[in-house]
Symmetry: C2
């Protein structure tokens, strides 16, 4: 098998811990874990639905829509200030503890982020977590105005890096993203941080790791 | 506003009670409601994901994949016979109690089903619940090999009935389906059987009813 010539990382859940928004939720509910999980699930659903409808709006708008739905769904109430503070948690996400060293170990071959996130969200997360020097490319789906797992999104990796998908290692903690990237033609590592069951989408990761420091070099 | 010249109904959750599969679940779990709800959620996710990936398989295959995922996700075990019996519950769904009379009241204008269901699944559900004489058209997404809310699916309604979407009433109990049909151009009734909160997808139903006998005639 040909060597790996570059790395393409998913952002949310893979590099950045989305559930660090839990803390921000304490202001509006005594059960911020349920708020965070419901919000995340709805956020993903809205990306899939809007992509299929051909009704793209960027991830900041999707994320706020999903939050407003979640607040109503859980019977909570929140002021506009509280909504704003919950949204701002997305601009100050923590990365997982091993990420910087794991990226450093892969230096020498191009390292990219390919994410649903809107450009301003990705810039804030990458800068805020000190990863700027560890990433050669930060690619948002906003360039093609649709969402993962559309092949149009996955095509941005090879296009930007100038390397065929089959010589890139795509890394995601999201099982459905793993399936989408594999179906597109990447070599794929599933970073299964939570011991999640494998999705039944007809495409499997080439390698499964628990954290990013276990990636093949 | 122009009069309504025909009706297009979603099937699962709108005409047919998907949660009647709960009973079949008692054989493999003491909490069949969670099995049924998780299975349904995953089934929808897989339609969205496969449609976006361009990796269509029919709804029977998606439904079985979602069931197998759900069994693993919930830490259950099931024999192949039990999986088969759970799947067969989809061939023997009950319709909601008011459906036959509600369809009868709308007779004289074409009444269609437009559903994610595979042709054999729709035929079994329509025949088994005695609705054959109340429906002029049963349309499966299988004709276009993708899933709702793709506009290619919604286009099958006007094409089959020969009536513009703006003169058809699309009826669904699924909020995301309501948004998809409205964005396509139908007039839309949301049959909100469960008091669900409205989705935040930028398109609203023209009318909201609790059961199908409240539809505008």
């Amino acid at each position: 098998m040909s060597p790996i010539r570059g790395y393409v990382f998913d952002a949310y859940g893979t590099l950045f811990d989305v559930h660090s928004v839990v803390e921000a939720g304490r202001e509006v509910t005594s059960d911020p874990a349920t708020l965070s999980a419901t919000w995340r699930q709805k956020q993903l659903e809205y990306t899939w639905l809007r992509a299929l409808m051909g009704a793209y709006v960027d991830f900041w708008v999707v994320t706020e829509s999903a939050l407003r739905y979640t607040i109503r769904r859980l019977g909570l109430s929140a002021t506009e200030d509280q909504v704003r503070r919950l949204m701002e948690a997305y601009l100050a996400l923590a990365c997982f503890p091993e990420v910087a060293a794991a990226l450093e170990r892969l230096a020498g071959r191009p390292r990219a982020v390919l994410s649903n996130g809107a450009p301003k969200m990705l810039e804030a997360a990458v800068t805020g977590s000190g990863l700027t020097g560890h990433l050669e490319h930060v690619i948002s789906v906003d360039r093609v105005k649709t969402y993962k797992p559309s092949p149009r999104v996955y095509a941005l990796g090879p296009e930007t890096l100038g390397i065929p998908a089959g010589e890139l290692l795509f890394v995601s903690s999201n099982g459905w993203d793993v399936a989408g990237a594999k179906a597109f033609g990447y070599r794929v590592a599933w970073c299964n941080r939570t011991g999640a069951p494998e999705e039944e989408l007809g495409a499997r990761a080439d390698v499964v790791v628990g954290t990013l420091d276990q990636l093949p070099g």
